[in-house]
Symmetry: C2
Subunit: 305 residues, 2 copies
């Protein structure tokens, strides 16, 4: 299976398509609700920029979907006028958006009805890893489907070193929701520590060094700490995505009757980012809520890296 | 200056005394409000177990204090019947307890009046590092005092590689409060992630592996994750200490007019540990609040490692 379609070619989807082309696959079809994204990428990769989802299915054997949220994910499979499941016999869909676990279950059911297969391919990495083919990739669905598309998954996950089969449809999304919930808590907590340090007039470089040497160390200290000091919130993973993912995790917690006060507090902080109009900043922009003298969207923050 | 006194010989203080003896210092005097601790350590190290604080000062050139909290720290320097500042001319006090920044300022003022010097020596490590002499040690006070006791500080901090001069009295305590505030947030957040994972029936070993590979990674994942799964809460750093330190940080935040919702949520969780009678468990015991089917103090949790 060499012919790949990609639906949703924002930062992540576009880089995944680039990676697969580089790994020897033929990207035959791309689609985005923002037509200009699809046109530009199609030109770059020699693919067809499709006007209709059904055309993506027609041109491809395996279709990656990398859309924004539950609604978009359901729409591309269920929209009455146009969807991916028209004449989808034999196609395999790999759904890489971070959506609710139950959406993955629903999509799998719909795909089966159309004699297609679907797999969730949850990514726990960002745009640089997508381009480099070193995504941490967690899959959920039927094991046989997973095995069929394994070469493609390997090409995106450092020869499979970062590939994990997690369980049935929806399970990988649960893991991803937990990853992002914990990451968001750590990021919001770091912003509080550095923000208070700034308010106390401490040397923030030394403070970061001390954090890095102690129980306060974390991955987000390495990825977001400097950016918080420098107000460099060019977007890798936006505040509004953080809010969405923490919200998914809190939905799971509610059903499981777990009370998670830190996850709640983090969710409310990211929601505040969105409400204040900072939602498009990187999640490091949460520091705008905790550092003294901030609270305005910094000028240089919007540009992409 | 070779003659060392140690006041407060719980787990940390005792190991620091052992380390200094191993490094060639003479531990002349030890004191603890729990007399039996002092007697046992004095016997082990060939020191005098003192009945009075003034006797520690009499026998020592440099006195380490490693007490539990603000009240104890102030009491050993101010108690009218007996304190460390009687005939303290020329003595240097290194105060290693995690106490409020203003307590360090107060102690420095009192020491000066008695023609003694004081230094804060905030530790951002735990009992194993104390014994090994590899504490991350942050100092606050007059630079000249710091220089005078540098050989002693070096002996506790991996030949000084982990030694940092932070600023005036109280500044190291501010940094320490922030370190513990962030660490406590990350720990409480991890307990929520793993607890929800357990409730969802996920494979927690895989979940921890995924956390470690992603933005959810943190130092506390490495130090506390397994213990949370195994309910092994043997105490390195207790829940009640975590509550105390987060409380100090929130006090600083209040004065600096910073609103820190995650720090607040973490503080409330550790307070809940204390109120439920879990305060003596390691901070990893916060998982008892988030895992399904827990909430009782586990039987094996109390023993020391």
């Amino acid at each position: 299976m060499k012919k790949i379609g990609v639906v949703g070619v924002g930062r992540m989807g576009a880089n995944m398509a680039r990676r697969l082309k580089q790994a020897g696959y033929v990207v035959t079809a791309v689609y985005d609700s923002k037509k200009e994204y699809a046109v530009a990428l199609a030109k770059e990769l020699g693919a067809e920029s499709c006007d209709r989802l059904a055309r993506v299915t027609e041109l491809s054997e395996v279709i990656l979907t990398v859309v924004t949220d539950d609604k978009a994910q359901l729409s591309i499979f269920m929209d009455k006028k146009d969807n991916l499941l028209k004449k989808a016999n034999g196609r395999i869909f790999i759904n890489c958006a971070t959506v609710s676990p139950e959406v993955h279950v629903k999509v799998q059911t719909l795909a089966k009805k159309s004699k297609a297969q679907s797999l969730e391919g949850c990514m726990a990495s960002s745009i640089n890893q997508a381009l480099a083919g070193t995504l941490y990739l967690m899959c959920g669905g039927e094991k046989s489907t997973f095995e069929k598309v394994k070469p493609i998954l390997n090409a995106m996950s450092d020869d499979g070193k970062l590939l994990r089969y997690i369980g049935t449809a929806g399970k990988a999304a649960q893991v991803k929701a937990l990853v992002n919930m914990v990451m968001n808590i750590n990021t919001a907590g770091l912003a509080e520590g550095l923000g208070l340090g700034a308010a106390l007039g401490l040397d923030l470089k030394i403070l970061m060094e001390v954090f890095s040497q102690t129980g306060a160390n974390s991955r987000v200290l390495q990825t977001d700490g400097e950016d918080m000091l420098n107000r460099d919130h060019a977007c890798f993973f936006s505040g509004s995505h953080a809010a969405k993912d923490s919200g998914i995790a809190l939905g799971l917690a509610k059903k499981a009757r777990r009370d998670l006060p830190l996850a709640k507090a983090a969710y409310q902080q990211y929601r505040k980012m969105v409400l204040k109009g900072f939602g498009d900043l990187d999640k490091s922009g949460i520091a705008e809520l905790t550092f003294p003298g901030r609270g305005q969207k910094p000028k240089k923050a919007g540009k992409k890296k």
